[in-house]
Symmetry: none
Subunit: 186 residues, 4 copies
Amino acid sequence: MKSNNNTKQLIIDTTIKLITKQGVKNTSLADIARNTNISKGTLYYYYASKDDIISEIADVHLNIINEAVLMCVKNINGTSDLDLVSLVMDNISTISSTGRIHMYLICEAITENENLRNQFKEKYRAWRLALKNSLIENLSEEHKDRADAISFLLISIVDGLVMQSILKSEEIPFADISKCLVDIWN
Amino acid sequence: MKSNNNTKQLIIDTTIKLITKQGVKNTSLADIARNTNISKGTLYYYYASKDDIISEIADVHLNIINEAVLMCVKNINGTSDLDLVSLVMDNISTISSTGRIHMYLICEAITENENLRNQFKEKYRAWRLALKNSLIENLSEEHKDRADAISFLLISIVDGLVMQSILKSEEIPFADISKCLVDIWN
Amino acid sequence: MKSNNNTKQLIIDTTIKLITKQGVKNTSLADIARNTNISKGTLYYYYASKDDIISEIADVHLNIINEAVLMCVKNINGTSDLDLVSLVMDNISTISSTGRIHMYLICEAITENENLRNQFKEKYRAWRLALKNSLIENLSEEHKDRADAISFLLISIVDGLVMQSILKSEEIPFADISKCLVDIWN
Amino acid sequence: MKSNNNTKQLIIDTTIKLITKQGVKNTSLADIARNTNISKGTLYYYYASKDDIISEIADVHLNIINEAVLMCVKNINGTSDLDLVSLVMDNISTISSTGRIHMYLICEAITENENLRNQFKEKYRAWRLALKNSLIENLSEEHKDRADAISFLLISIVDGLVMQSILKSEEIPFADISKCLVDIWN
DNA sequence: GATGAATGAGCTTTCATTCAT
DNA sequence: CATGAATGAAAGCTCATTCAT
């Protein structure tokens, strides 16, 4: 059991590293086998297919983000509007650090992997709802009806900034953006 | 000349359709040949490589967005803050309609295609600068120093919303979001 | 007629240059078309196939060598043994300058092109016989019976030196070799 | 291990046969797969590329010749000038039997395969030096200074004769040639 | 549990050749 | 005479997957 889990963990960890570097399509089972020192045959003992590995990685990845999002939402409770925004922005770094794999998995999900697509759909829906509910509880009375739109906006901003930061088109002034968001907010 | 351009156009149009449906990596030259009723050999008569086709498609695509962005920026001049935002939001629909291919091309660009990556980098930089300059000219004196941050934010919002709309996790309330943005703005 | 010949000449000359640089297999009709500014279609107006072009080039090439060999043989008459050898060696330079194409054509001939193979067979036979006859007329009485063997040897030496000079494994001391051959001879 | 080596050996042996018959460029991986009853995929399990296979074959081939040359050189020590030459000539038969593949590999080496070219360059250099050193030790005092030139000549003669024998332009009188060489020598 | 060996379908690319105009 | 356009066969190569041991 234990060794079993250790091996699976090794496969997942290694594959995450590879996918983060090369993308899903460019990471072959041969790559994974080589980098884990596990034979391709054994890979198939633990996982039924490459898609299976990717799916588990998506699980791991989505759970990491999920925790970050929920933690963020949880902290929102009892804070002022101002802090709310900065909290979200602080967590961009967490999400951004896993940004490449996030993008790669989404591309894979959109393109051809229905299971993956459903995994992502559900999580995005859940995140937005959690965010929205938290906003409802915390926004001042006059802004409560905006909670829905704001939840969409915040998620968009995070995803969009991640995309720009991966493209490396320009250095992104996260601090300024965060400050600006807070300013606008009030 | 004429037939020449017609065939090239047919190749590009068909490939755009296929890529929009399947993504870059999952669209093979055999696919393109089959759907154009053109032999693989002829494909290579018009384009030196698959990357060449993709690159031209990226050009076409980026120019479409570019026009939308510049048109939007141009219209900003002489409008109030309020209209500015709604203008940007209106154009989301244009951009969103080509959103899938946008995502696919970006994934390809990030993963392994350096030329593509540079095509995108340059355009993103140019867009943001155009947006920023337009904002500087139009924002009220007290908000001028936020132009830079806001330009990043607006681009992020568009990209992020495109991503959510492709994932189809939920119906996105574009109207509400637009209204909210405008409200926040003032 | 004249223009016809000019075009054919252009094709042959250009192809010789290309083959000398890249070898037969690596010179495509597209290469030839590009370098002559003649369309591939027109190439086929003048020559029935790529093999046809190669065959004509072999003719041109073999005739050049043929002249050199016959000139050499002709000069042998009425010279001493010593001069005979130096004459052959002098012509190595001529032959060596076309050495690359000679090797490439021979490889092509051996590998798969029967016409080419026959072209070469005949010429080699003719050369050796001409050389042998010339040797018989000029060698001293006691060495006349060696004419046959010597003719094979001289041709081998030329071909072998050409091969080594193309491989560029080492700088070949042609002068020393020539001197040595003359010394041995007497 | 054992099966592993067997399969590699089968691939090499089969490819040598095919190349000897058809040349390097005309021997496709499909040919090799068909003649070994091995799938193309398996070919790539054992060798990273076609060049890899060719390179190993060149190694095998060059080692065979190398042994013949070194054996020949070794036997020269302590023999008279006369025997020296006949020894070299005796070994022509060994070399000639692998002559076709020798020519094909050299053509490939010259044309476009730099690794192959270097393999050949080094071996030719080594052979000539070994031959030269052996000649220095065995030639009479008055001929020692010719060792360098003679080493080039002997190698040329072997290569040249191989070429003629492959072209099959005429039956080559090896015995006469050998005798003639010995006569000239003394 | 674990693996090395084998596979076949599919990929991008090249190229001599054909032909209507 | 001349050409641009089109083709199809074949090339080298990749890779997820299977399976006997």
